[in-house]
């Protein structure tokens, strides 16, 4: 794999390659370039996950024509699909190197921090929450139990914006969560539950269930569960699987089922007056 990446950099197929390098014992996101091609020997593929496509989006804003290669798991690939649909990245400028994620009998091994939900989050295990909760598992609670639980989870929020900052498909330059007239910055604690419900609604048609938001949350709010429900509703009501392919999102400004083909004007009918 290193050989392929080196070849790409040397041939100019890509200008930069986004991967991970070990720095002081931590695999950190790193940008490999042709000038320092020997750094590729330090390329590390481990269970560490980061939204490299978010870095690619920021870089493409500054240099729209730059060609970027990156490591991509399934979740990164879904995020890239969404970013392509929303015109944040040009598919012609992106090359991906697929890496293993979820374990399967067809693969030798997997490389993702979500592989072992049983071992993750000791505090969460104690309060009965795990990283891989499915909406159906919590839907046997009734309305007031749900509200109790969610209000408890939301009021822990310290408005660090970690969920929004790490999210690979959050790219709005004017974020509603920071907009002066809407939610605004500078006041703590955030308005509960509005802050999180606004974010959830904005995740419709965008969230690709990578789980980085829940990883980033310093107070362990089960965000992935909430956005999984959002994705479920979008799938049922709009019949749209986020990140699945190149189909236009029903949430773009034109809505769904819009064809903008110009219709020919009917020839004007002359009438005898």
């Amino acid at each position: 794999m290193n050989a392929k990446i080196k070849h790409w950099l040397e041939e100019g197929t890509i200008d930069i390659f986004l991967g991970y390098k070990m720095v002081d014992g931590h695999p950190l996101p790193h940008c490999f370039t042709k000038e320092r091609i020997d750094e590729l020997n330090d390329l590390v593929i481990s269970q560490t996950r980061y939204s490299l496509e978010k870095i690619a989006t920021h870089v493409s804003v500054v240099k729209p024509d730059i060609k970027i290669g990156m490591l991509a798991r399934d979740c990164n690939q879904r995020a890239l699909n969404v970013l392509f649909i929303w015109n944040q990245l040009n598919p012609d400028n992106i090359e991906t190197v697929n890496i293993n994620c979820c374990p399967s009998n067809l693969k030798e091994h997997g490389d993702c921090s979500y592989l072992e939900p049983e071992t993750g989050g000791i505090y969460k295990k104690q309060v009965g929450v795990d990283n891989n909760l499915q909406p159906a598992q919590v839907e046997q609670n009734n309305s007031s139990q749900r509200l109790d639980r969610w209000m408890y989870e939301f009021q822990k929020c310290i408005k660090c914006y970690g969920c929004r900052n790490i999210c690979p498909v959050c790219f709005c330059t004017e974020c509603s969560l920071e907009h002066k007239e809407l939610i605004g910055t500078g006041t703590l604690p955030p308005e509960v539950p509005i802050f999180h419900l606004v974010r959830a609604v904005h995740m419709a048609g965008r969230c690709i269930d990578c789980g980085l938001c829940e990883d980033a949350c310093p107070v362990d709010i089960p965000l992935r569960l909430l956005y999984r429900k959002v994705n479920e509703i979008v799938g049922n009501v709009f019949d749209y699987q986020t990140g699945a392919g190149a189909q236009q999102s029903p949430f773009n400004i034109l809505g769904d089922n819009v064809t903008l083909e110009p219709k020919p004007l009917k020839a004007a009918q002359t009438q005898n007056s």
């Binding site: 309305s143 007031s144 139990q145 969610w150 419900l197 909430l226 429900k229 029903p250 809505g255």
Partner: protein
């Protein structure tokens, strides 16, 4: 499209425990009587759901802080 968006909102609110509070109706400006009827019915439905559940939470969360204040006051000698 509107129906889908409102359905989405209703289902999301139901998931977090705030169901039955969003209603969608198509009413023309010439259908005043229908408007009155829809609004009255929905108002009664909301009234039946009781006081705002979110307000109860802000009171509940204030409680530990109030307790702390009363503990501190009890510890100070009278007149301070």
């Amino acid at each position: 499209m509107t129906v889908k968006r409102i359905t989405f909102l209703q289902e999301l609110l139901a998931f977090t425990g705030l169901e039955g509070r969003v209603h969608l109706a198509w009413i023309s400006s010439a259908e005043a009587q229908k408007f009155v009827q829809v609004v009255t019915e929905f108002t009664e439905k909301i009234r039946a759901l009781g006081p705002n559940p979110l307000a109860a939470y802000s009171e509940k969360w204030k409680a530990p802080a109030l307790q702390a204040e009363s503990i501190v006051k009890a510890a100070l000698p009278p007149g301070q």
